[in-house]
Amino acid sequence: MEVNEVFDKVKNLFVDELGIEAEKVTMEAKLEEDLDIDSLGIVEVVMAFEDEFEIEIDDEELTDVGTVGQAVNLLHSKL
């Protein structure tokens, strides 16, 4: 899967699962500051990623994920 395809899927999850406005979801957007996702929201996103992409994400892998782009790159590297 190409990076832009992963981004599209990620964007859909943010919009559908968390009700975030689509135009706010950019590669540069910061999860907590720009998208206003709290710590439980991050968990919801991760669980949605795991279901959508049929992968498992360790908590350690998330420590460096602060933006949508970083999440997309992590997912892309695991597919």
Binding site: E17, D38, L40, V43, E44, M47
Partner: protein, 242 residues
């Protein structure tokens, strides 16, 4: 219509809970060994006009827990309410308590509730609605001679329930504990008449509890009327812990 899974739903308090909730919810009657008794509970709920299925669940086995939830989700689409009721006792005075009896009671009563609750919360977070009820015991609040393992497991449920309530309240998921006192079930059937009299003497309401006394409280805590109540422990014990 909401769907409830009652672990240990084929007997005792769990059976009364399942039957009572059958008036308002789809019910999955969870059983570990007593399939025939679970089927009877299902029949009784259906006879009263409700919807129910019997489903196998061994709370000491994560695969069994996952399979149980998948079965219920296939039939009713979601598990909206979880009643963590499955529990065992392996009593012995503390100096003589074997570690294997400690381990098995903790694994079933406490870790079993962890397994089922964590699985249930996946769907509840998606639906942004959920109710989790833990059936603890007054032994978890006051301790009880010969039941250090059981009391510890039941006290552990209180910390678990309170933490879940704090983490997930923002998603309309409530988590509460009911602490039954002496309730007439198989688990207390070993008491002789004299012991029962001694117990009743300690109570404000002069009778041993019935499973229905617990079921009524469960039904309230599962209802929309209780949406502002979370992280709490409710003794239903005839005044034993007053």
């Amino acid at each position: 219509m909401k769907t409830v899974l009652v672990t240990g739903g084929s007997r005792g308090i769990g059976k009364a809970i399942a039957k009572n909730l059958g008036l308002t919810c789809n019910v999955a009657v969870g059983y570990s060994h007593s399939k025939e008794q679970a089927d009877e509970v299902v029949d009784e709920i259906k006879t009263a006009g409700g919807n129910a299925i019997a489903v196998s669940i061994d709370v000491t086995d994560q695969n069994s827990v996952d399979e149980c939830f998948e079965t219920v989700e296939d039939v009713y689409s979601s598990v909206d309410i979880l009643i963590n009721n499955a529990g065992i006792t392996k009593d012995n005075i503390f100096p003589r308590l074997k570690q294997e009896d400690w381990d098995s009671v903790i694994d079933t009563n406490l870790t079993g509730s962890f397994r089922a609750s964590q699985r249930a919360i996946k769907g509840m977070m998606k639906n942004k609605w959920g109710r989790i009820i833990f059936i603890s015991s007054v032994a978890g609040i006051s301790g009880n001679t010969g039941q250090s393992n059981y009391a510890a497991s039941k006290a552990g449920l209180i910390g678990l329930a309170k933490t879940i309530s704090k983490e997930l309240g923002s998603r309309n998921i409530t988590s509460n504990v009911i602490a039954p006192g002496y309730i007439e079930t198989d688990m207390t059937s070993f008491l002789n008449d004299e012991q029962k009299e001694d117990i009743i003497e300690q109570l404000s309401i002069k009778r041993v509890g019935k499973p229905e006394d617990i079921a009524n409280m469960v039904s309230f805590l599962c209802s929309d009327e209780s949406e502002y109540i979370t992280g709490q422990v409710f003794p239903v014990d005839g005044g034993l812990t007053t």
